[in-house]
């Protein structure tokens, strides 16, 4: 696990109440769910599309569903979870708008984290080198990236304003620390606690 991801999980864990119910959308290999179960005693479930990742989740003893979050979450009622988490998965789905709407329906609160496409290194790479950015929060090449949507923190804040979504907390991370000054320029990963 990269340092940045480790830090991100720590921030998310701080946002989650003890004993809460959690749905992790795109839970990957289950590291975050396992951490939340261990340290926050949450009742957690995950949804993940990758078969090998599901194997790892089962090995961790997690409740996971092998499926696609893009097709919605019809099996869950409104406000069924205290938290719905989209850790590095919102920018990978086909329809982030639909997925976020569903997340906000089934979760009382939603935690979203994503890489900042307007980070200063990304701006330099795109602006001066004329190349698609590759940095610790965007570690993929254009031909193998799972990301299908590229956005900045400002884009997300605008989106929430337009949709009437309340941003309750936000934390920006760089590789070294939390970013407080000019986050849209210096933050690599943003973590937002939002609610409808």
């Amino acid at each position: 696990m990269s340092k940045l991801i480790e830090k991100e999980y720590k921030v998310i864990a701080e946002m989650v109440d003890q004993g809460a119910t959690v749905l992790d959308l795109g839970c990957g290999h289950g590291d975050l769910l396992a951490l939340l179960t261990r340290e926050k005693n949450v009742k957690g479930q995950g949804i993940e599309i990758d078969q090998q990742a599901i194997y790892d989740c089962v090995a961790k003893g997690l409740s996971v569903f092998h499926g696609d979050i893009d097709t919605g979450l019809p099996e869950f009622g409104d406000r069924a979870f205290d938290y719905v988490i989209l850790s590095q998965s919102m920018q990978q789905v086909k329809k982030p708008d639909t997925v976020l709407t569903e997340a906000l329906r089934v979760g009382k609160k939603v935690i979203v984290s994503f890489p900042n496409f307007a980070h200063i290194t990304a701006r330099f790479q795109l602006g001066f080198s004329g190349k698609v950015p590759v940095n610790p929060s965007l570690p993929f090449e254009w031909y193998n990236t799972p990301n299908t949507h590229f956005l900045s923190f400002h884009d997300f804040i605008d989106y929430c304003r337009k949709r009437g979504i309340k941003i309750e907390k936000k934390t920006y991370l760089s590789e070294k620390n939390k970013v407080r000054v000019l986050p849209n320029l210096f933050g690599m990963v943003g973590i937002f606690l939002i609610s409808q």
């Binding site: 599901i54 089962v58 090995a59 961790k60 409740s63 099996e75």
Partner: protein
């Protein structure tokens, strides 16, 4: 390490009250057991078989031999594994071919209608007889998966974990339809004689055709293409009218013919009907049906399985979730159709072994 020889044992009990209200008496269950029951009897796993299976699950020619044994998914070094032939079967357990004590002749159609619930109730008697209070797990595919679900709803206190594979809460009309074609093939055989054929020629042709239809539904379009293509066994011979020239024809005929040597046609009728009647929800709504289940559940489906499609497994998962049951679900990418649960043993091993590792009897 000295390997214990595998032997089929027989458990007899006086009477079983059936779901229909009728009583079956006496009853025999053929079963096999592998591994050692630990001192506090907390390591027992019940394996339940599909339509044509039997008690011989492990060891040479066992129907799940790749999954059960030392170091395998169901590790006989750790667990005590039990598998019994279902009630209504023809492989040592009481079924329509057994002697009716009232007449001294085989039951035939005098055998009462049995259900998946009855099969599970009979297994419960066996488990009690073995002195086991709680099963660490119950696992099986297809009709075995139905029995797994029935264990969960009938005996929620006795099941610590469950692994239903390639199965359904209930049969769809398509599944009932295929079963009915099989039954009609048997009943259309002149030798069937209203089920009264013991001692004379058996309805082998009908049963073989039923099995052929079954085999088509167990495979996928792709697995048939890979296995047979349009190959001829010898060569195209237009003069040989309707001989089994295609590989696939020969295969199905071979499968049908070998099946009749080990299976009773009346058992086929009774067991397929039991599958068709089955409804794990027992008429309840999806949000109430699985209330009270305490087990951890691992649900497995296979992508190419069109007989028990993944959506049916997902319905099981949904019902589990609505009742707060801890559930993991994986749809294994396999090309072998419904047969995958018998073939895709490497993937299953990975999932089942790791799942069981996290299951603890309290």
């Amino acid at each position: 390490m000295v390997k214990e020889p595998i032997e089929t044992k027989y458990f007899n009990f006086d009477e079983l009250k059936l779901e229909s209200g009728e009583k079956l008496s006496p009853v025999t269950l053929a079963y096999e057991a592998y591994g050692k029951l630990n001192a506090d009897k907390s390591n027992a796993i019940l394996i339940v078989h599909a339509l044509s299976g039997d008690a011989h699950a492990a060891g040479p020619n066992g129907w799940w031999e790749k999954l059960i044994g030392a170091g395998k998914a169901f590790d006989t070094g750790k667990y005590f594994i039990i598998c019994s032939n279902v009630l209504g079967g023809c492989r040592g357990s009481t079924g329509p071919a057994s002697l009716n004590p009232k007449t001294g002749k085989p039951y035939g159609l005098d055998f009462p209608i049995i259900t998946i619930t009855d099969m599970v109730n009979a297994q419960k008697k066996l488990i009690d007889f073995l002195g086991i209070d709680k099963l660490l797990s119950v696992a099986g595919g297809s009709m075995g998966g139905m029995q797994v679900l029935e264990w969960l709803v009938s005996y929620p206190e006795q099941v610590v974990s469950a692994i239903p594979i390639a199965t359904a809460v209930r049969h769809s009309p398509q599944q009932i339809a295929f079963d009915e074609v099989g039954r009609q093939a048997i009943m259309a055989d002149i030798n069937w004689n209203d089920g009264n054929y013991y001692g004379g020629p058996a309805p082998d042709r009908g049963l073989a055709v039923a099995r052929m239809v079954g085999h088509i539904t167990y495979m996928s379009d792709r697995s048939m293409e890979d296995k047979f293509g349009r190959k001829f066994r010898d060569k195209k011979q237009l003069l040989k009218k309707f001989a089994a020239e295609f590989e696939v024809e020969g295969y199905l005929q071979y499968r049908g013919d070998s099946f009749v040597k080990r299976f009773d046609a009346n058992s086929y009728l009774y067991i397929t009907k039991a599958m068709d009647y089955f409804d794990a929800f027992h008429g309840k709504g999806i949000s109430e049906a699985f209330r009270g289940i305490k087990a951890k559940v691992l649900v497995l489906a296979f992508k190419s399985d069109w007989l028990y499609p993944a959506y049916q497994s997902q319905e099981i998962v949904k019902a589990c979730k609505l009742s707060g049951v801890k559930t993991a679900y994986c749809e294994i990418d396999s090309k072998y159709g419904h047969d995958s649960f018998l073939i895709e043993t490497e993937e299953e091993t990975h999932l089942i072994r790791n799942f069981l590792k996290n299951v603890k009897a309290d």
